[in-house]
Amino acid sequence: MSNYAHPETLVSSDWVIQHLSDPKIRLVEVDVENNAYDQGHIPGAIAWSWQRQLSDQLRRDVIPRDHFELLLSQSGITPDTTVVLYGDNNNWFAAWAFWQLKIYGHKDVRLLNGGRKKWLSEGRELSTEVPVYQQTSYQAQKPDYSIRALLPDVQRAVSSGAAELVDVRSPQEFTGEILAPPGLPETAQRGGHIPGARSIPWGKAASEDGTFKSFDELKTIYASEGIDGSKPVIAYCRIGERSSYSWFVLKYLLGYNNIVNYDGSWTEWGNLVGAPIERGLAVPVGALAAHAG
């Protein structure tokens, strides 16, 4: 992990083993729901549900500051705690939690490289015991929305070209062949992508065992689609969790500045009245100038 721009934001399974009884560390398994956690989790880990605890289902928003403070207080977390996040689905929702913790200014947040999948495949110890930690009085920072794109930011990017749009969904979602990942509810009226977006599926950043690819591999993957850190980047997917993963890669592993996550993503843009979309394959990077002409 040493040549990543911010290697301190990743931990290995061995590191977790060495810190299982460290009171300054809080392990949190994050997923849509906690079914997998209930079957067995890293000893000492607590669970956060993206659906019930990390997203405001009434406003469709990140949770408000007071809810965030309550969640972290109930989790026994202080501003000095090192929060280590992991989860199923290749850490997608753990990455969302990472992004939200950064919005509210938590200093030391890390991802378990490879997530739940790697922990299980390595035959590591699991527990069904749900730990209870002494409640704290967590005080969050004022939200930092500089790492978040809202609709007007995306509209400006489309009209001005001032930022690169990176669509991290599957190629079939990008072209418009399907409206949602196979097996999940269709949550958009239209299929396709935001005009001008590059298609760089999140999975390109992951190795077979679920860990992140090397710095050099990641740099090559993104550069081949014209993403080299020289321009601001807006990452999006369907609901913002896969793009949190790619946001993490671009910002913390490659160290590119000005990377934001558009959590409204395709469920917002794809349903928006009057918003232009494109269908089909992306224009190859080398042909962009001719296409624009």
Binding site: T175, E177, I178, P182, R279, V283
Partner: protein
Amino acid sequence: MRADSFQKKPLELGGWAVHLTSYQLGHQYVAEVEAISSGVTVARANHNDRALAEEHAVETALRRLARTRRLDLDLTVGG
């Protein structure tokens, strides 16, 4: 408790390429169906019999995958 006896096999369910993974966890077997193209865990089931855990996961996955429509597209660049 540790996960062991992993088995992973590629399948096609309802026209979608998936991986069916199963493993033993304590006294139970856990079976998971993952859509290869998206990496989404489509279904999960557990049972004290591996075959039944896999069968239940596949049943659930088939039901969920059937909701996904494929739209006809002109897949030319920018089409």
